[in-house]
């Protein structure tokens, strides 16, 4: 390469000792301070119009947010829908996800729910039907019920926290699970507090 400019070579220049981590946060140069991911539940009220869900899911995939679940449904107000998003991100990522979500024009509000919020998920678990009684009693243990039974299969419905459903699915493995479908988390703040 030809050309060039006058001035001191790179190593002859003074260099500061400071450092930032990959999130751009200034840190002690000796420590490796990389933020740990955490699970955050975001609740967004949006205008009830076509294309909003696509815009939200597109935003999350485009920006590479780590989504665990995304649910959407109508609310008490027919003009509004609520989207509940569960993401796994370090703190700066959670903040960024909230702000990017808020930027979408059809999004009315976004809040991060407290870990104590009511969080529920529904699962349909279809298992081998050889021992319907045993299936029934396991379902009861998890407060669930059989919603369909055939010669070969029983389908059980379970509602509850994500952990409970994980546990139920694990337990049902002994009956040879054929199919599982889960809705992802729906959540609301506890008590009289309104989920914005």
């Amino acid at each position: 390469m030809t050309g060039g400019l006058p001035g001191a070579a790179p190593d002859e220049r003074p260099h500061p000792d400071g450092r930032r981590n990959s999130q751009g946060v200034r840190i002690d140069p000796e420590v490796e301070a990389e933020p740990e991911p955490r699970r955050a539940v975001l609740s967004a009220t949006v205008k009830h119009e076509p294309g909003v869900l696509a815009a939200v899911s597109g935003l999350f995939s485009r920006r590479q947010f780590n989504i665990e679940s995304l649910t959407v449904g109508p609310t008490e107000d027919e003009n509004r829908a609520r989207i509940t998003l569960v993401i796994e991100e370090p703190d700066p990522g959670v903040e960024q996800a909230k702000k990017q979500l808020e930027k979408l024009i059809p999004v009315i509000s976004v809040t991060e729910l407290e870990p104590t919020a009511s969080q529920r998920e529904l699962a349909l678990i279809k298992v081998d039907g050889e021992a319907p009684d045993q299936v029934q009693s396991v379902a009861e243990m998890y407060g669930g019920e059989a919603v369909d039974a055939s010669q070969e299969t029983v389908t059980v419905e379970i509602t509850g926290s994500r952990q409970k459903i994980n546990a139920a699915v694990d337990t049902f493995r002994r009956f040879d699970i054929r199919e599982v479908v889960r809705t992802g988390t729906a959540a609301l703040e506890r008590g009289a507090e309104q989920t914005q």
């Binding site: 050309g3 060039g4 006058p6 001035g7 790179p10 751009g24 696509a54 700066p92 059809p106």
Partner: protein, 596 residues
């Protein structure tokens, strides 16, 4: 510079016919399409850049009776870039139009470009009739789907009674808050349908409330940090210009005598001939700007998104500095670089708030004196320079300087993307906002010429427009020369012709051991002849002696002219911070790259 001839695509006979037709044209809105046109008229839009086609024909038909000036472009990409540049230079959203399918997809690069640079722009696309949508009909594309990630917001207009309001809203959203492109997709049945509903005022939806003033406590804390600093710098981004905050920025920097660096989109926010100016930082920024960023203790970033071409590796960006970040978009705060003092609000308002707060404290500028001296020493140590021996091939830097000399301070410069773009900002002295029009975030080759067309129409008649192009960039959208000729636009195109896609060649030499795969462009056409073929003036210059005369003749010529400068094909852009590198470790010459 002589007056611009107002663009018109009509012949006199057509104009007479349209006058006649106008007499029996009803005053009010009659169709969805006329509502679209009325909405545009209401916003004060002057120019539309577009290309015709089936699905958008009802809108064009409604334009037949409108006073809006439609500029027919050679390619929809040109229409989008022209609208983008119009928005940058005028401050008001530029408007582009295209038909469905290929028309809409051809706009995509230009929309993405405007999106990355937060330029105000609105795109109107035709769409197949609603009943055909989703059936892969002829020239159907899911335009809102395709453009969702690259627009601030977009709309599928499904109702002739509200389509005008939707266009008004799109216009308002494009220009308010953090600016950006919006799009309205217009199904043909909707634009053809009868309606007499007049569009209302252009308003943003009630869910959209960009912040005005920063939180008082946050301002106080930031002012404390600035007042306590010893080595502060201001980093002015494109948001300063977009937010019309250049006066506030200039007054603030001068009052406290804080050195000012700009980002590339921020060029023109602060005059580069001011003692406090360190010009541009980043990959090809000045050595002194990058030294100052690396050693400052407080960095006041205003209207910048801390792009990686600016920061280099984020771990070594301003590693000793507390960051004050002023931005109207909360999502920019701590996105790339953590903000110790986030100030969310309108740039001009927040600078005033900071100023008021600092006024209540003892003047800190004396304490910065030593720092200013240090910064001055770096300016002497790393001057922007180049060698011009007579026997060498022509240096591109010299060409840039001669054009700068030959034109006024308020000249608008547009560029393609590559080495020439870098020389065009390094060796031209920018002093005014809205005079630098370039593709930063997307880095779109072919941007320069169509941008010059949009800039020409937005600029004052006595402002010059100069477009720097590389041979590769120029060829990408050269067809727009036909538009410049048709509209007799006074534009000077300077091709810095190195018979390479030079920036690629520079990276191959620097980082791929000189394997010049696919970077030779020795099959370049004769640009001067090509210009003449289009009906423009053409010049060819291959040595130092010819530069000044050709520049004088081209600038003097009232219409588009192209000067093909055959420059040193091996010239490279320095300083350079390699991608992801440390700003303080810029290379000043090729062998420095090996040391990094």
């Amino acid at each position: 510079m002589s007056e611009q001839v107002p663009p018109t695509t009509q012949t006199e006979a057509e104009a007479a016919a349209s006058d006649e037709a106008a007499e029996d044209t009803p005053e009010g809105v009659t169709t969805g399409a006329s509502s679209v046109v009325r909405a545009l008229e209401n916003t004060g839009a002057e120019y539309l850049f577009g290309v015709q086609g089936g699905a958008i024909m009802p809108v064009y038909d409604a334009l037949y009776h409108s006073d809006l000036n439609h500029v027919t472009m050679a390619h929809e990409q040109g229409a989008a870039h022209a609208a983008d540049a119009f928005g940058i230079v005028s401050g008001d959203p530029g408007v582009c139009l295209a038909t469905s399918g290929p028309g809409a997809t051809n706009l995509v690069t230009g929309i993405a470009d405007a999106s990355m640079d937060s330029d105000p722009m609105i795109a109107l696309t035709g769409q197949v009739p609603t009943d055909f949508v989703g059936n892969d009909a002829f020239q159907e594309t899911d335009t809102t789907g395709v453009t969702d990630p690259i627009t601030k917001t977009n709309y599928f207009a499904g109702d002739e009674d509200t389509v005008g309001d939707v266009v008004g809203e799109a216009f308002a959203v494009a220009s308010e808050g953090r600016q950006g492109p919006t799009l309205v997709d217009l199904p043909k049945d909707v634009t053809q349908a009868e309606t007499d509903v007049e569009p209302g005022e252009a308003e943003t939806p009630d869910t959209y409330n960009p912040p005005e003033e920063a939180d008082d406590d946050a301002v106080e804390a930031a002012a404390d940090a600035i007042a306590a600093a010893e080595k502060p710098v201001i980093l002015a981004g494109g948001g300063v210009i977009k937010g019309e905050a250049t006066d506030e920025l200039r007054a603030f920097a001068r009052e406290y005598e804080i050195p000012v660096i700009t980002t590339m989109p921020g060029i023109g926010a602060f005059p580069e001939d001011d003692d406090l100016s360190l010009e541009v930082a980043g990959m090809h920024g000045t050595g002194y700007a990058n030294m100052a960023i690396t050693h400052c203790d407080v960095l006041v970033g205003i209207g910048t998104r801390f792009d990686d071409r600016l920061t280099g590796g984020v771990d070594s960006f301003a590693p000793e500095a507390d960051v004050v970040h002023v931005d109207i978009d909360p999502a920019e705060i701590s996105k790339n670089v953590h903000a110790d003092y986030p100030l969310i609000g309108d740039a001009g308002r927040v600078i005033d708030q900071l100023d008021d707060e600092l006024d209540r404290r003892p003047d800190p500028s004396d304490r910065y004196a030593e720092w200013r001296e240090q910064v001055g020493a770096w300016k002497d140590e790393y001057p922007m320079d180049y060698a011009t021996p007579d026997d060498e091939p022509l240096k591109p830097q010299f060409v840039v300087e001669v054009l700068d000399e030959a034109t006024d301070d308020d000249t608008v410069v547009t560029t393609g993307v590559g080495q020439h773009q870098m020389w065009a900002f390094q060796f031209w002295t920018y002093t005014e906002p809205r005079t630098w029009v370039s593709s930063h975030g997307l880095g779109t080759m072919g941007y320069g010429l169509p941008a010059a067309i949009g800039a020409r129409l937005a600029a004052d008649d006595d402002q010059s427009v100069v477009c720097f192009e590389g041979d590769g960039s120029f060829l990408m959208t050269i067809q727009e020369l036909s538009v410049a000729v048709r509209e007799n636009m006074d534009i000077t195109v300077a091709v810095l012709n190195n018979e390479y896609v030079g920036m690629v060649r520079q990276w191959q030499d620097g980082f791929f051991e000189g394997r010049r795969m696919a970077s030779e462009y020795s099959w370049c056409p004769d640009f001067a002849k090509l210009a003449e073929a289009f009906g423009a003036r053409g010049f060819t210059v291959a040595d130092y002696d010819g530069v000044e005369d050709a520049v004088a003749a081209a600038v003097e010529y009232d219409g588009p002219s192209v000067i093909d400068f055959h420059i040193d094909p091996e010239e490279n852009v320095f300083p350079m911070v390699p991608s992801g590198g440390k700003n303080g470790k810029f290379a000043l010459k090729a062998d420095h790259l090996d040391q990094l």
